[in-house]
Symmetry: C2
Subunit: 354 residues, 2 copies
Amino acid sequence: MSGKKSSLTVADVARAAKVSKATAARVLGGYGIASETARKAVLEAAETLGYQPNDLARSMSTGRSGLVGVIVGDIENAFFSQAVRGISDTLRAADLNLIISNSSERLSEEIEMVSVLLRQRVAGLIVAPTDARHLDHLKAALAAGTPVVTLDRHVPELEADAICGDDRESVGRVLRRLHEVGHRQIAYVTAMETTDGKLGKLEDIGISAVRERITGFLTHMREAGVEKPANLVFVGATGDDETSLVVTRILERSPPITAILASDSLIGARIFRELSDRGLKLPQEMSLVSWFDADWTRVTSPRICVVDQPTYRFGQEAAERLIARLKGDASPPQVFVIPTPLLERGSIGAARSD
Amino acid sequence: MSGKKSSLTVADVARAAKVSKATAARVLGGYGIASETARKAVLEAAETLGYQPNDLARSMSTGRSGLVGVIVGDIENAFFSQAVRGISDTLRAADLNLIISNSSERLSEEIEMVSVLLRQRVAGLIVAPTDARHLDHLKAALAAGTPVVTLDRHVPELEADAICGDDRESVGRVLRRLHEVGHRQIAYVTAMETTDGKLGKLEDIGISAVRERITGFLTHMREAGVEKPANLVFVGATGDDETSLVVTRILERSPPITAILASDSLIGARIFRELSDRGLKLPQEMSLVSWFDADWTRVTSPRICVVDQPTYRFGQEAAERLIARLKGDASPPQVFVIPTPLLERGSIGAARSD
DNA sequence: ACTACATATGACACCGGTCTCATATTTAAA
DNA sequence: TTTAAATATGAGACCGGTGTCATATGTAGT
């Protein structure tokens, strides 16, 4: 009850209970065997002294650590914070805790964080890798025996389980729907930064989800008979000002663009604001579809049609895979693709025919 | 470069560098002194072997842990995830990492998490305490020498620094503004659960921010000459259905309620949806003010007037306080009140005069 | 009563670092 | 040249648990 200050150890408890350190440790650590008499004495002593086990020391000698490292692009983003909640809830049930860190989608920070987490001897890692072309740090983790699960992104060259959405297909679903109601000139807007503000080679896109979506977009648009669909991919929508610029370019385009796809909910919200600031009416004058079912998409008028990425489930699945690996599952790495259905809402309308 | 599997230790490096374990440790740990010759030999050996320090062992022997425990109500909530980002960024700069956990605003889970974190021997705790009336676990942490900073909430009985908004005053600002444009019957809606669905004694409200706001609401309403303002406090808006019910009760009230205050952005969004589903026009037929400048408040029409709680800064300040404590600051605990200005937007209109 | 085997317990090495202290080597001062 | 002081280094204890192994006690079996 009363909080002693200096930490007391099994040895202290043992002394009080008049048994050896080993016996006390067996009782308190819940391993080995001890007589009922000894057990009672130890537990009572621990109780009255207010003994608190030291997990650091435990991890030290067992080698197991009870902590899982999580590296996401940005916890502030609901996409990731939901996933983290899913991870957290699932890990908790398995008596694991999570150390969280932000990469800010920067490779250097991701590398740094992996290193920090490995120093902490985390039991495993859940990472949303920033760049599929630089994997040494993650490979090193695997080589050191730390299982890795990638979240929202898949890197085939990495011997790690992956949880991700059906990115390529989801683009297909959206485009098919838009095509049905007459849209041909459709813009895809994403945050990805490029040196020249133009879409480069697909292989150079570091984030797999982004690459898959753009690939899907180009493929499906081409199939639908649109020429040079690459011109309809707008990159660099990283902040408010940049997005404003992108919207301007979209609206100036001829033949006129009649629908916009926003690759995530932050971009979606920015585009929506830009459009309504400029007085455009959704869905009559412009259709809009965003990825991720964020809060804001349900308070606009019209409500915004979204590709629903169940990120809480992403997190759950990732944590479950990791737990399985920690329990010794040594089967070959798997990719878990989670369906991301299109939620129909009022922001899709028939294409203008002007 | 190549990832060895079994972890190698300072002893291994020392052997390779042909120096003693102590010397190698001094070089690798960056403490004590070593000759330039020895330093070079050790660093080179470490490099070629691919040595990775073990922070667990380090914490073990130093007693310092490099990890800070954070307990929030719900990371999924942007209010907290922003704060966590602020904490994370600030801790990072001080070479600290963060273990995060959710209390789900339940005392039992909070107690459990504090215990888990103390077992991990975290260097400090940042907590949004769920119940100001049950503090034994936090007091125990303090007694064990683990500094605690409370986030968004203040508990005077706890010898801990607190970072919070100016809750009571913010309510005053909102009410004054509404009063100016003619509102008298103003509802305050909050998530707090009570046994009978009615507002009980103020002292029984466990979350200080909630208590402060309601106290402020009652005081200011009374000063403005409104009788029985307690009848205008609506509790139990915990989910969609519950909020729907609350809105119904608000709309049926006579004399008619002309403005609604939502205690957080989740409730605000729900209320907004309810109102627009029922076809009410903001701000002509109802004014709405929410706490927290969430994304959704800027995509509605009209945009929603909010009390801006800069939670990223809450997090920053909390982390800074904690870091100061870890550095040895032993001054008496302080409360840092962060201003939460009212952001005027279109959702406040003149009161109906029917 | 004596061997056989399960149960209980204590002594002690170990995990991988830090850190104290005593000793060895170098440099500066007298 | 001798002594004092500064600099380097190694041996080994320590942090607080886990876990091995040898010994002690208890219970059967014959």
